[in-house]
Amino acid sequence: MSTDFYREGEPVADAKAPAGPISERWEKRRFSGRLVNPANRRKLRVIVVGTGLAGASAAATLGELGYRVANYCFQDSSRRAHSIAAQGGINAAKNYRNDGDSVHRLFYDTVKGGDFRSRESNVHRLAEVSTEIIDQCVAQGVPFAREYGGLLDNRSFGGAQVSRTFYARGQTGQQLLLGAYQALQRQVAAGTVDLHTRHEMLELVIVEGKARGIVVRDLVTGEISTELADAVVLATGGYGNVYFLSTNAMGCNVTAGWRAHRKGAYFANPCYTQIHPTCIPQSGEHQSKLTLMSESLRNDGRVWVPKQKGDDRHPADIPEDERDYYLERRYPAFGNLVPRDIASRAAKVVCDEGHGVGPGGLGVYLDFAAAIERLGKKAVEAKYGNLFDMYERITGENPYERPMRIYPAVHYTMGGLWVDYDLSSNIPGLFVAGEANFSDHGANRLGASALMQGLSDGYFVLPNTISDYLADGPFDALDETHEDVVAARKAVDDRIGFFLNNDGDRTVDSFHRELGKIMWEYCGMERTDEGLRKAIGLIRGLKDEFYRRVKVTGKNEQLNQELEKAGRVADFLELGELMCIDALHRTESCGGHFRAESQTEDGEAKRDDEHFSYVAAWEFGEDAPVLHKEALEFEYVKPTQRSYK
């Protein structure tokens, strides 16, 4: 097998989740965890990195509890974290519709949707807490959509059979984030949170085995400083930008998590990547990011490609019998509404065969002609008008007259730093929340669950579980002269010095683009043994070249966006290799990870529960990463194979 790329270490286990009936575990854990008395809280300092849903809600809540919080973000305001871009909604098991929803059903759907690669205890807690999140956000004044009676509206999302998704038009993430942002700003005004914007975490400080601080760079002045504390929380989001082109914001990066990983934190399931089927395709080499179009478009649009390869006629000139409605053909029961991963892969297959449309043949048609004929243009406009406008703004094409072109794009990463039930990484004092951890979505995330997890971690889970760790604090006084602090800082200085002094001739972006192409080609929607091995070789070569040839202009003591990007891309290069190794070792297909070797006769993903029912937690190794397996047990939801035929 592929053991030439990694070593296997001791198994790892989550020691914090209590045993017993699943619905009592969270309550049990809250009771067994130690508390910190209010007078002592103000002697304890907690660093929170990131101000998205998880980071802002955690920082605000910890501040309210009386801890002294230092909160960091690289954006110019904490309100700009990428949670703001989430469109669809947030799930909660409120059962306001009386349609049979319950905490247990949300738990069940999430475990199943995650293709049985998540922890039951964590997912159940997420489902329990989901209802509190809605209460909390409403109390903050989040303007959720309402019905005429004044009560909250719900919709069904992502193929769920119940209506449990709360939403605020197509900007739910924005409204939830602004709620958390306002709660955070309130604590800033109250003096409990020191908020540092335009600061980027570049190193984790570990002293005597405990996470005790971070090294940050002030992105305006270039000043490098250390912030020391009793605990560190990373809420730094996902790493989809390893693909260069993704629906993530340009600044999203893995640096905080990767720096922690290099210092010993395990990185779990890095290969689990969610690829969203309905994004606007790339228009050329200049492309910097991809824009998501709401999944709801597939409710009325029909997906097709020309039967003839390389057919470049205007779509209206292609007669019906020369069109291949491939989703309807292959999945007659679900048709255009098959789950995200299946729709994405099917698009890749037809494009790889040469049927794709638009620039580079990387696109399929999403056609509303039938819907317009059936419902009338007005009705279609009422339902999708804003999405059509957005499409036209970006592509210059009118989707009422010409079918939209869509193509899958990287959207969310289920993997992340390994955490236990308390959201503590394997480094004592280092906690990880939101998309940055791996904990709740298994191998595939359901729609409207990302917002739920971010806020669950930040408002309700972490502030409760962190006290068990902080109860041992305050830890020994530290100052900047401690050798471990000095060493961490020096590592940052050296890295920056290297980039600025490297006599290179290639831009950072050119490396990032090249890495993205390798990742997309070999570690994207479909992965093979051969392709992944090739990718690992290519990434290693690219990494060598990066350190030889990267060119960073300017100096440290200024706003230097090239320098920021250089450090991020350096970390993406290492992460990319680990993702490929993880994908290579997992020879089964599950959720967002599709191995061509592991499919049913009909070309569907085939899980291998006998060999892979575990979390792959990777430990950093200079020569090769070390795999620690955490076995997954399913007491309540028995694994089954998905079928959408």
């Binding site: 109390a139 004044g141 309402r146 004044g150 306002q182 706003l559």
Partner: protein, 248 residues
């Protein structure tokens, strides 16, 4: 397409800045405005020059980071569109385009096209929230809210905090930004207890940050990429008057 750009270059907050001309060729009309600048920057780095610094992040019109004044108009010529969503097909081959940072006393330039908008955060800190500590909330259905109020609150809350309103205002006023938040929160029943202290606090923070007063010219609303209207300023004025009279 081929374009002549004039871009504001300023190496840091203290430095003198000036408009610098660049010629750029082979720009795809499918590129976004920021992607056009990416292409320029790639070239500048290749030539050993300092690339043009500008704020941007999500590039899908929602984070509010991008902030360019294009030909004298915040976010450029297309209505209801942020800079990142503006595409080059809106320009013609051979056009010359001026690119400047937001100009306002409360938004000092940090470098090139990047400005410091932390004054907006300080306005929010002065009261732009509802005090609802985590865990204290009643059931979400405890208080019904009329749909039209919830919808109006949403429309105001759609503000992305980009600062185009300030950049467009001849007085460098932040009233549209502030009015949007005051309107959002004062339309919610949960926002009532702090309604008076909120507006007084926010207005004081707004003035202290150095934003100018409103002269109701409407330039802010015309520049707003989220089409927030002057009614939020009216509501802010009304709430302020009531609160000030009650406080007196």
């Amino acid at each position: 397409m081929k374009l002549s750009l004039r871009i504001w270059r300023q190496s840091d907050a203290q430095a003198e800045g000036k408009m610098v001309s660049y010629e750029i060729d082979e720009v795809s009309e499918d590129a976004s405005f920021l992607e056009m600048l990416d292409v320029l920057n790639e070239r500048l780095i290749g030539e050993g020059e300092d690339p043009v610094a500008f704020d941007h992040d999500c590039r899908e019109g929602i984070c509010g980071a991008c902030s360019l004044v294009i030909d004298g108009q915040p976010h450029g010529p297309q209505a209801a569109t942020t800079t990142c969503q503006l595409h080059m097909r809106k320009f013609k081959d051979g056009d010359s385009i001026d690119i400047e940072p937001w100009r306002a006393g409360a938004f000092p330039v940090i470098k090139d096209l990047v400005v410091d908008r932390s004054a907006f955060d300080r306005i929010i800190q002065a009261g732009g929230y509802i005090s609802a500590p985590t865990g204290t909330a009643p059931d979400a259905h405890a208080v019904p809210i009329p749909k039209q109020d919830a919808d109006a609150a949403f429309s105001a809350a759609a503000c992305i905090g980009c600062g185009a309103c300030v950049a467009a205002c001849p007085n460098g006023s932040g009233m549209l930004f502030m009015g949007a938040k005051v309107t959002h929160l004062s339309l919610m029943p949960q926002g009532q207890p702090e309604r008076a202290t909120r507006v007084l606090g926010m207005v004081a923070a707004h003035d202290e940050a150095g934003f100018g007063g409103c002269t109701n010219t409407g330039e802010c609303a015309a520049a707003c990429p989220k089409e927030i209207g002057l009614d939020v300023i009216g509501k802010l004025n009304r709430d302020f008057r009531k609160a000030a009279i009650r406080a007196a």
